[in-house]
Symmetry: C2
Subunit: 433 residues, 2 copies
């Protein structure tokens, strides 16, 4: 029987879920993988509060270095989240030649370069399956399963909170605030949900995926990020009328040697796999040169999916430990597939635009002319029936156009006398490539 | 640079696709994985015909043993298909301590036990990612990505030909024969399509997946298998009216210590991920104890997806070759999760039933009574509007019921005077668990 000792730093909800799974699955992993994973130490600043899982009190410590400096520990699991302390502990563990498994997307997204280099220098592994869509083995699929493929684009629903909110707004025709409140009551959203709903959590995950696939170090600050806070139920309803769902997508696309990386609400055709991702699920659509389109779907976060990803990483690493010799694929490869990140003004996609106009003759003609002057062609248009209200919504879907042209055209349109409110713009991904 | 020499047996459409990809991707794999995969020998009974890929004629041989007995060859790729010859070559290669990569689902489904034992005895790997849904890294996901999970059920669309035919019948309201002809013209169906449309190819793949997940050696003969040849466009239309798509599903479900394994046309709710699998794509929904539901989607067959899977297997094996020591997870684990395979009479699912009845009072009452007598409860019913034809379709969706009860009830119903044709039955999977 192969034996591997692990130490866990972080014993909160996710950490205790991982401890529970390691305990519950110990026998199963022994019988199936001939591997005995022994959790020998757990660190948390709070070692008093009761957890769901029972562990012997001798396992608990408030000092992370009881794990990092412990010669018996083979693998350190970092689940405290946050930046400074987590980085300190991971670097210290790597330098002590311990393998590390982390779920820390925020840290990886800004410091992956440094962390992977230290891991490589010390001949140890740094695994991070749980950092992106933990219930979906997407990192493994990209690194190993699709190893022969050059990735062309990624379209991901990588934040369960936002997807839950948008799905509820769609299915129950409720507004953003109501859906957010529901999400909080169900435990799908934090009491301070801003990291999720403003799109930053999605940007962290996209930074990791894009770096892995395109071989350049993409950081969150390189990613144009727009959250879902301004999405109205009216726009979801209009989009639905055209056959689209609205999803918060994390998108990375290689165009020649440039990379487009953006996070924003996006219209997706109803019959696409991404549109079938409901509730708090995650989904990632990958386009690559050999296999074409693949799609992966599952739970993205929470204690159990994180435990599943962490244990898969531990089993992977244990192979290397047992084999002693550590000539393994590089964890992340900076084999540059692109030279630079495209600026926002050059984004190229389709657009949903809702104009709020006075209902009088000639308005549609004026709007259309300005769009045409900016080389934006209209795919569909729908003017809602006249009502007693003077301002009516005019909804347009455009063909693909440049972001800058759309911005310039809208500035002119919104200055028209007949336009009474700032026009609403949501990007749309209509063709798969 | 690590070097691995491979020999290819089988130089048909798929084999030449793999050769082409190995050639085209050699530089990419070198730079990204520090690995030089060199195709040093190709065997086929026809070494004269021109292929899409150019290879040096010195590489070609008609004798498979020029590869199997060649000390320079590290990995043998078997792509000839069929049973006897393929088995002979694979066994010979394994005994010569060569690693083997195969896409041969028909052979694996009946002989996996023997082949894996010989591989293990000789300390070499036998990889088979390309044998099931080649463009989707599903074997890797099940073996490694979801390693900590006990699998509870598998619902797979694993045959692109059938899915293309059913999708076309649905979208274009055409009949089976027309859709099959289209599939043949597009190259999605063989000139003799029976292996696909009768469900046997799906059963081969299910045998592999179920053995992998449930730790017992499931053979195709253990799997209840029903093809799509009897599916009418009328039933697809009626199912659609109830909000369902009709898909050929390969299903394996663990119920207590029994395994239900079946391949048959199945009603799937439109808003399920499986219903969004269109054209000739494949999709596999997995339910497991830790992560819950995951779903994988992509191209299932053809030269390019096969090449992608084969190269991923080669890269995996190369790690072992370089590390010399081969203490790796067992390829397939007979860690029994179930004790036996459930007989057909005990299947437990929902049913779509179309009765062809004379339109006269009391018919619905008679049918309902017989169903109730057999403890089958009705979820929805739809009787089509009266027409001048005397025989009208009555469509019912049942709640979950035992297969035997349904069969017995239908025997009685079909014997009623008012019933004019054998009732049509399609199983339905309505709840995810």
């Amino acid at each position: 029987m192969r034996k591997v000792n692990v130490g866990l730093i972080g014993f909160g909800t996710v950490g205790s879920g991982v401890a529970e799974a390691l305990k519950a699955k110990r026998g199963y992993i022994k019988s199936r993988y001939n591997l005995d994973i022994n959790l020998i130490k757990i660190c948390d600043k709070d070692i008093i509060s009761k957890r769901k899982v029972k562990v012997d009190s001798s396992l608990l410590t408030k000092n992370a270095y009881d794990i990092i400096d412990n010669p018996a520990v083979d693998i350190v699991i970092e689940l405290i989240g946050g930046i400074e302390k987590a980085k300190e502990f991971i670097l210290a563990a790597l330098k002590k030649k311990k393998h590390v498994v982390t779920a820390n997307k925020a840290l990886l997204s800004i410091a992956k370069d440094e962390l992977f280099q230290v891991a490589e220098k010390n001949g140890v592994q740094l695994h991070f399956e749980a950092s992106v869509c933990s219930g979906i083995p997407i990192i493994k699929a990209l690194r190993e399963g699709l190893a022969a493929n050059r990735i062309q684009s990624i379209y991901g629903i990588v934040n369960g909170t936002c997807n839950y909110i948008l799905s509820e707004m769609d299915e129950k025709a409720i507004d953003f605030a109501t859906a957010l409140k529901q999400a909080q009551e169900k435990g799908y959203a934090e009491s301070d949900p801003s990291l999720d709903i403003k799109g930053h959590d999605s940007a962290h995950k996209l930074a990791i995926l894009a770096s892995l696939c395109f071989g350049i170090d993409v950081k969150p600050k390189d990613i144009y990020t727009e959250g879902i806070t301004d999405i109205s139920s009216a726009d979801i309803k209009y989009a639905s009328g055209f056959g689209y769902a609205v999803k918060l997508l994390a998108i990375a696309k290689k165009m020649e040697r440039e990379l487009e990386v953006r996070v924003h609400p996006t219209l997706v055709p109803r019959n696409y796999p991404l549109a079938s991702v409901s509730s708090n699920f995650n989904g990632v659509l990958i386009e690559s040169d050999i296999v074409g389109e693949t799609f992966f779907y599952g739970q993205g976060s929470g204690a159990k999916p994180t435990a599943s990803a962490v244990i898969s990483d531990i089993i992977d690493i244990s192979n290397d430990i047992v084999n002693k010799k550590l000539e393994k694929f590089p964890i992340i490869v900076y084999d540059k597939q692109v030279d630079k990140i495209k600026p926002k003004k050059d984004f190229y996609c389709s657009y949903y635009i809702r104009f709020s106009a006075i209902d009088k003759p000639g308005v549609l003609a004026s709007i259309s002319k300005i769009l045409a002057d900016h080389s934006i062609s209209i795919a569909s248009v729908s003017q809602k029936v006249r009502s007693k209200q003077k301002v009516v919504p005019i909804i347009m879907l455009t063909h693909k156009a440049k972001e800058l042209s759309v911005a310039e055209a809208l500035e002119k349109i919104d200055a028209l006398d007949a336009i009474r409110r700032k026009s609403v713009v949501i990007r749309s991904e209509r063709s798969r490539i």
